[in-house]
Symmetry: C2
Subunit: 297 residues, 2 copies
């Protein structure tokens, strides 16, 4: 199958690495330089002590793409631009979105593809350099159909056991659960500069996370609140030593997914006239840290 | 006049330094070692390029004190113990409390002294070592009578021009204004690890401080809200390069005045059934940072 992957970040490279053995994969990058390096050096994935390099095709995303299947693996903050101005350049039968947050859902009615799926990635992945990704935690990718037919994505059933896909019926509950996880873990770890585990082992931080969780759960009138809270605690324990992507972005002075996560919550709260003081306060603090970091660079 | 000063921290040493020229001053310390050093080396105050050493008497606070006037210059968190168990050891005609926060006010009905005054110190002071204090910012000490007569404190009118006292009528408004300043500046600078000026020059932080201020102002049904907010902004500008006492305490792994400041707010909010989500959230985050620091030591 001819598969295109838009985005050369950690998730794009990881996805490419696990499909390029069985499929004809092209990675579409933002920078010429990364595409050239991928063509020359191949794509290396590190998993535990294993280090595997795959031949892969890559090119910068500058002209029209024609593929059978497309994975959109850019960050939420780069997606709006693609959906608004370059969606006609993405020719494919089926398309799958791999973003955090839910901001992209409102654009989907304007996406012309017959078969549209949404997915949330529950793998640990770290981009080491332009051609190397470390698969730091084997998890799964949950996915759901937003428009069209599930069968258009049937090739997902025969993936590598280290990169499984699991279908779920309710795409909204799926995205919301991931959003709750990101809301609870990312901004707090970025602000406090602590690894994920501290949010559950350090009691004051656990209380703060719970308070934030309750507020956001109210904004979304979340059902199964207790089980999602337990899920978040489990993730913190399982990834105790990890530094969240937002913490790493803040430390490196990079742009973060703060807007896709916390500003999205605040906007929904405003629409629904539900107060969200903690989300608003935390947003300002982390935004401030992000701007401090950008100024230093 | 025979003046006793209970507490050998920055404020106690500064007060002693400015009274010991004209009065018979004794500093009552917690540790034997500090009292011995003060008796041997004298008390040095640094102000700008000047460095002055005064002969001073000091002894550990272990037995009954008899003075004409007493300044209580211990931190709020040490005061409860003194007021509850050792108040009978403090013999004096008049007594003045120099604490941040308002937690001590509820104990005052049990304080036996005829003349009781409350004060808020608006000087910058930094304890360099057991016998040296740096007067980093010349301000004033506002004071007010809680019980008894203003005339019992008449010696305050003839103090050094670098250490002026200013009488105000409304002790509650005086303490509340200082509390608002401390609430707005201390926990945020401690959490964010930024100097005071960043809270007004860095727009997201200013927004967060404003949000916190509004919440706490509502808890206390604060009048003159706009003028107190301007006062806080002015202090941030005037002390832009300073690191707040709470930030320095956090960085050094010392106990902070967080409870005297922010837990006091939360308790009043609970009593009055007013929501205080931001204060509660911020309290947990700074408490967590404080405990992290203590664990590391």
């Amino acid at each position: 199958m001819r598969i295109g992957i838009v985005g050369g970040g950690a998730i794009g490279l990881l996805t490419a690495a696990y499909f390029c053995g069985d499929h004809d994969v092209t990675i579409y990058t933002r920078r010429d330089e990364q595409a050239e390096k991928l063509c020359t050096n191949g794509l290396t994935v590190i998993c535990g002590n294993e280090r595997t390099t795959h031949r892969v095709h890559a090119e910068p995303f500058v002209r029209e793409i024609e593929e059978e299947m497309l994975f959109i693996a850019v960050k939420q903050y780069d997606l709006a631009n693609i959906l608004q101005t370059r969606i006609h350049m993405l020719q494919a039968n089926a398309i799958m979105f791999l973003q955090n947050g839910m901001g992209h859902v409102s654009y989907l009615p304007h996406v012309p593809h017959h078969h549209i799926a949404l997915a949330v990635v529950e793998h640990g992945a770290l981009k080491i350099d332009d051609t190397t990704v470390s698969h730091t935690g084997v998890g799964q990718t949950k996915w759901s159909v937003w428009r069209g037919e599930k069968e258009a994505f049937s090739f997902l059933s025969s993936t590598n056991s280290r990169f499984p896909f699991q279908y779920v019926d309710d795409w909204e509950a799926m995205l919301l659960e991931k959003l709750m996880v990101n809301v609870a873990i990312n901004p707090l770890t970025a602000l406090l500069r602590v690894p994920n585990g501290m949010l559950v082992t350090h009691e004051p931080y656990r209380q703060a996370m719970k308070q934030l969780f309750q507020e956001v759960a109210s904004v979304f009138q979340l059902e199964q609140r207790e089980s999602i809270w337990k899920h978040i605690e489990t993730i913190c324990h399982q990834t105790a030593a990890n530094r969240s992507s937002m913490l790493r972005d803040i430390e490196s002075g990079r742009k973060t997914e703060l807007d896709a996560i916390l500003r999205y919550v605040i906007e929904r709260a405003n629409e629904r006239c539900v107060p969200a003081p903690i989300s608003t306060f935390l947003y300002a603090l982390v935004k401030g840290k992000q701007l401090e970091g950008e100024k230093e660079r």
